[in-house]
């Protein structure tokens, strides 16, 4: 039976170079599309010429990008089995990052959907959820750890069959000069959890294939995404489907948008963020 090695002629440098170069045009189910405008899956509502990020992220894998202020980021749960664990940082001062407690406390709301801000601990909004066709998200349970995935699935390694979110975040963060000290609690999209009156957690699952959310970057952001099974997913198997990511140029929230002053807290987090951007000259 032919092995993988039998399929390649790599006995000399010239042969190895030819063999390597012959691989470049291959396609995979999960891959980035460059330039982004060449995506085979152009998102609705976006001019393909404005796309800045187009990628399908495999289940159990991760993605990351630095995006400009005013970028719209669309995440789509292709098969209904994705769970996008997300961390965002102010790309200019990355010690300013997602603060999950402020993200639920300041809007007086634990459950994420359209209009919800992703707040930092510095009184500013890093991103706004501006579209949500899923309604199944979670800001309480964070992502999975090596300890938890080894106990549940027998393995947690990034190269294994059931990677943990924290180990994938560690890799994504390292590629932006960030370490595990820089991994605060994350939020997740496309798999939901609710808390009962006694505080106990109830799993609400996902919304099925094709559900999508859109995040509007209110500052220049480092975006880290780990696409892994949710930590309280009750199913015994590690189930993690593909996630599609697209981003394109748009504009940050301005006083002309209804959400600018939809609540007293919103008026002040958008104002604080605009104040920072003006002072930085961005």
């Amino acid at each position: 039976m032919a092995t993988e090695a039998d399929l390649h002629e790599t006995g000399t440098v010239l042969a190895a170079r030819a063999d390597a170069r012959a691989q470049g045009a291959k396609l995979a189910d999960a891959m980035p599309y460059l330039p982004a405008s060449s995506t085979p899956f152009p998102p609705p509502g976006a001019d393909p010429g404005t796309l800045t990020w187009a990628e399908t992220v495999a289940g159990g894998n991760y993605a990351h990008k630095v995006v400009a202020r005013g970028t719209l980021i669309r995440l789509e749960d292709v098969t209904g089995e994705a769970c996008a664990h997300v961390l965002v940082y102010n790309a200019l001062e990355p010690w300013e990052r997602l603060n999950v407690a402020d993200t639920v406390k300041i809007p007086w709301q634990a459950y994420l959907t359209t209009g919800h801000p992703l707040l930092s601990g510095d009184g500013r909004v890093l991103a706004t959820i501006v579209e949500d066709t899923s309604g199944h998200h979670d800001a309480l349970c964070g992502t999975s750890t090596a300890v938890a995935n080894q106990a549940r699935y027998g393995d947690s390694a990034p190269q294994g069959p059931s990677p943990s979110g924290r180990e994938l975040f560690t890799l994504a963060a390292a590629k932006h000069g960030l370490s595990r000290r820089d991994l605060p609690p994350s939020i997740s999209f496309f798999k939901g959890v609710r808390a009962a009156e006694d505080g106990s957690l109830a799993w609400t699952g996902g919304a099925g294939p094709g559900a999508a959310i859109e995040l509007l970057a209110e500052l220049p952001l480092i975006v880290l995404i780990a696409n892994v099974a949710h930590p309280v997913d009750p199913r015994p198997a590690y189930i993690s489907g593909p996630l599609r990511v697209h981003a394109w140029r748009s504009a940050p929230t301005t006083p002309e948008d209804k959400r600018w002053d939809a609540t007293p807290e919103a008026a002040r987090y958008y104002l604080n963020t605009a104040d920072y951007a003006v002072a930085r000259g961005i």
Partner: protein, 231 residues
């Protein structure tokens, strides 16, 4: 008796009219290793060795004690709200709750608790977040984030290390539609919580200075911290 530098800290007339201060004592048996008073609005920290127990006394009642735990030997491993919630299957902290780290490991276990439940979703106040919650006129007020940053700096830590926290004696219900917020407390003078260190832990506490919501009953008061030897 606990050590306290300024006697006025334990004088009820230093606080709002009607303040009752109840010093109580350790919530578990064991030789006392450390016994200190944290004045109102101040930070505090100590290392609690594996097996030893920290009792926190809500001396004046309904005084939020914001708290972050770290692996004392590797502060890159620290308290994690979501790992504690997901690990315990519950958003509230009660007797038996395992306080987990960012790596999913047990940092401590709550061994006794004299209020119905403790909070770990409300996070910390801070100068900047206060401007969102209460307006820009509050920007000169001191907050827990500032206490955490000041105390963390003693250990070479900074903003990257101040993560979402526990709030001993603070009450944050979530309603069925997800509405949540800090409401009147369910603690009282002399009520206590105690947790046992499951590894050597560094404990950072901010005795919350907040005056714009009921987390301190609009009357910041002292906390008593007692470390007892494990059995």
């Amino acid at each position: 008796m606990p050590s306290v530098l300024d006697p006025s800290v334990l004088d009820p007339s230093s606080y709002a009219d009607g303040t009752v201060l109840a010093l109580a004592g350790p919530l578990v048996d064991g030789a006392i290793i450390l016994d200190e008073i944290v004045p109102a609005r101040a930070p505090w920290s100590a290392v609690v060795r594996k097996g030893n127990v920290l009792t926190i006394v809500d001396v004046g009642g309904n005084q939020s004690g914001d708290c972050i735990l770290y692996n004392a030997h590797d502060t890159g491993e620290r308290y994690s709200v979501p790992d504690t919630i997901a690990g315990g299957g519950n958003i509230y902290v009660r007797t038996g709750t395992v306080l987990r780290s960012s790596e999913g490991n047990p940092l401590a276990t709550v061994v006794a608790n004299e209020t119905d439940r403790q909070d770990t979703i409300g996070g910390a106040c801070g100068k900047e977040s206060n401007t969102l919650r209460y307006g820009h006129h509050t920007a000169s007020e001191h907050g827990c984030r500032e206490n955490f940053l000041a105390e963390a700096s003693k250990y070479g830590m900074g903003a990257r290390d101040v993560v979402s926290n526990l709030n001993w004696f603070m009450n944050v219900p979530i309603e069925a539609d997800g509405t949540l917020g800090i409401v009147d407390g369910i603690s009282g003078p002399g009520k206590r919580v105690a947790f046992r260190a499951e590894m050597d832990i560094l404990v950072l506490v901010s005795n919350c200075p907040q005056m714009n919501n009921p987390c301190n009953d609009f009357n910041p008061t002292p906390l008593r911290m007692i470390i007892t030897e494990g059995s």
